[in-house]
């Protein structure tokens, strides 16, 4: 083992460029004639490359979270969230709080539009509400959706055939950090459903689509 230990050290120094000209030439000459040694040095090089790649991953993951957060809460004041209630039951706001409630006591069946989910980034569609089908096992959830710092309308295409959805209220929020956003959400939650235990969460638009398709909604970080 002693010998191999020395070889690994030699390989380390070679790969780091720490050998002097003579030492390097000597090692390279040995590698030319010794396949085993050549393989050892090459494997060592690849392992160090892998180690480096591995160490870069946390930064890439961290940036992903910022990207996701920025996408639906870019940190500009005056952003707006829309609170939706996905529910089979009847619960909506009565307007006793400061924000303007958008209430749709009579759910309107939504029109079917042919569109790829997630491809509709442009705001401008009027918020749609509607009932098409409900799942009895679906829990009441207050969903808020925001994108690019503006109210992201829940358009008909988002909700086609995807359960009962009602806009409960819209509320302006300032989201310069996840914590502040959460704080705003909590207040919306309290205002939106003071007497009921309904979880409030902000989800990105694509997650809303997943939720509506009864898929698992990713955890909000």
């Amino acid at each position: 083992m002693r010998n191999e230990l020395t070889l690994i050290e030699l390989a380390d120094r070679y790969l780091r460029g720490e050998l002097n000209t003579t030492e390097r030439a000597e090692l390279e000459e040995r590698m030319r004639t010794n396949a085993e040694l050549r393989e050892l040095v090459e494997d060592q090089r690849v392992l160090l490359g892998g180690l480096q790649r591995l160490a870069l991953r946390p930064a890439v993951d961290k940036a992903y979270r910022s990207y996701k957060f920025g996408k639906w809460a870019p940190g500009i004041g005056g952003a707006v969230v829309a609170a939706l209630l996905i529910s089979g039951g009847a619960l909506w706001m009565t307007g006793e709080h400061e924000a303007v409630p958008i209430i749709s006591p009579e759910p309107v069946p939504i029109e079917i539009e042919d569109a790829e989910p997630g491809a509709t980034d442009a705001p401008g569609d009027a918020p749609a509400t509607g009932t098409v089908r409900t799942r009895p096992e679906q829990r009441d959830t207050v969903i808020m959706i925001m994108q690019n710092g503006v109210l992201t309308p829940i358009s008909a295409k988002d909700t086609v055939g995807k359960g009962t959805m009602r806009i409960v209220k819209t509320v302006p929020i300032t989201a310069s950090s996840p914590e502040k956003l959460q704080h705003s959400l909590d207040s919306v939650q309290r205002a939106g459903a003071p007497t009921q235990d309904i979880p409030a969460k902000v989800i990105p638009r694509d997650s809303l689509l997943q939720l509506l398709e009864w898929e698992l909604v990713p955890k909000i970080e």
Partner: protein
Amino acid sequence: MSDPEILMQLRTGREHKALVELYAHLPKVERMVRNNSGTRADAKDLFQDALIILFGKAKEDGFALSCSIGTYLFAICRNRWQEELRRRGRFAQELDTVPDEPADLAALLAEEGRFGSAERALRSLGDKCLDLLKRFYLLKEPLLSIARSIGLSGEGAAKTRKYKCLEEARKRYRTLIAQGSIAQPQLP
């Protein structure tokens, strides 16, 4: 941020903003993957692997791009997704080729595939070995100080431990290579 600025930031350890900005290229990859039998999660893994490749290359001396960063990332994703489709037995599915994709892409992907296998091998070692190897090779911490902080008797013991970890990693890497493994998307 311009491409050279992004590369500079990746290179000099001020990478966060640059990386966040690079995610702007993710939706295009998502479309490509989802239109070709993949999920959004597949696309994310693929794209993050491409980011790791770019990030790793950017840290190399003398790295220069022959195309835009967007093209570079997309071409990597496109080619690796094609590979994945073949692995899944979908030989007939041909993805559109990327105009002006980097000329050395095949070599790059082969090399990065090896790094990916090495990454998997290292990850499977466990935290103790990983920690030691990272300290020694990436943080360039002296063996003696590593030995002290992980409770080894001295430099010699640390050196032996490092050797054992490396040997085990190498063994596992060799096994992966022999299995013809394709680097799986990595999760933290």
